[in-house]
Symmetry: C2
Subunit: 138 residues, 2 copies
DNA sequence: ATAATATCCTACCAATTTGGTAGGGAAATT
DNA sequence: AATTTCCCTACCAAATTGGTAGGATATTAT
């Protein structure tokens, strides 16, 4: 399951997506509107900034805003940044690969099935974007 | 990601599947062959027994064995028992449903996409069985 | 300048989950 | 009655999760 933090990230991002092009949005504004603990949200938005999904501005008139269009930010990217691997096993992860101890990858049946599962999941999560989140909600 | 415990469960089950029909297998045998900590494995097998995937026999000649054919035990079932929900959000889980606070299910775009993802995942994990694990490994 | 505004950074914290271990009890077999 | 094997309860350390606190830093307005 996705962590609470990741769910917060999606809620915050969808709010920013709804306000795309309207300039910087205050953390405190997002916090109140989306009911996310302020200081926790601060941290989340900062992480999203560090991977270039968001841009920020300090001082009066400042805040956070999407760096690119909501149509260009897919869900897989967000999950990887905040939640971590999408694959069900480390030996199957594209972005967080780790070898399985005591298991031979060449002849591992579990791995093969989890690879198929990963591909099916990614096919959806890499195609769906923040834009889809907003417009799936009407 | 699946827990280490779940990976142990799959390794143990695939060993039991390979030996299906050959009578009870010792925990200690599985532990050594599949390199799983003995006491931890004890616990795992017992949980699988409680949901009727395994049967056990005590005393000499005893051990654990699959209660039904490897073709009838799918991966989704195993994951749910040992790892928990398969869906990425509680509001989308079929077997572990929980309402999302501060989120209206009717108009939630995230939920809709996660439902699609869940269905794609389940389509695979409910179809693939222990038998497939064994025969995908050759 | 300097005050005000707002993000950024570091450190800490409690509760829960994960990945075990220890020790003995209960049932079946010899 | 001894041996074998699973079963049950309790405990434990380390990691992760979901935060909070307090101030440093950058920008803007006066
Ligand atoms: S190689 Fe990763 S589970 Fe076998
Ligand atoms: S209802 Fe579960 S995320 Fe919106």
């Amino acid at each position: 399951m996705l962590s609470k933090k990741t769910r917060y990230a999606f809620r915050a991002l969808s709010y920013l997506a709804e306000n795309y092009g309207k300039g910087p949005i205050l953390i405190s504004d997002i916090s109140v509107k989306k009911k996310i603990p302020l200081k926790f949200l601060e941290n989340i938005l900062n992480e999203l900034k560090k991977v270039d999904l968001l841009e920020s501005k300090k001082g009066k008139g400042g805040g956070y805003y999407l760096k690119v269009s909501p149509k260009k930010i897919n869900l897989a990217t967000v999950i990887r940044v905040i939640n971590g691997p999408i694959a069900l096993l480390p030996c199957v992860s594209l972005n967080f690969y780790e070898r399985c101890e005591d298991c031979d990858e060449k002849h591992c049946g579990i791995r093969k099935i989890m690879t198929i599962t990963r591909d099916a999941t990614l096919k959806i999560l890499e195609k769906k974007t923040l834009h889809d989140i907003i417009f799936a909600s009407f």
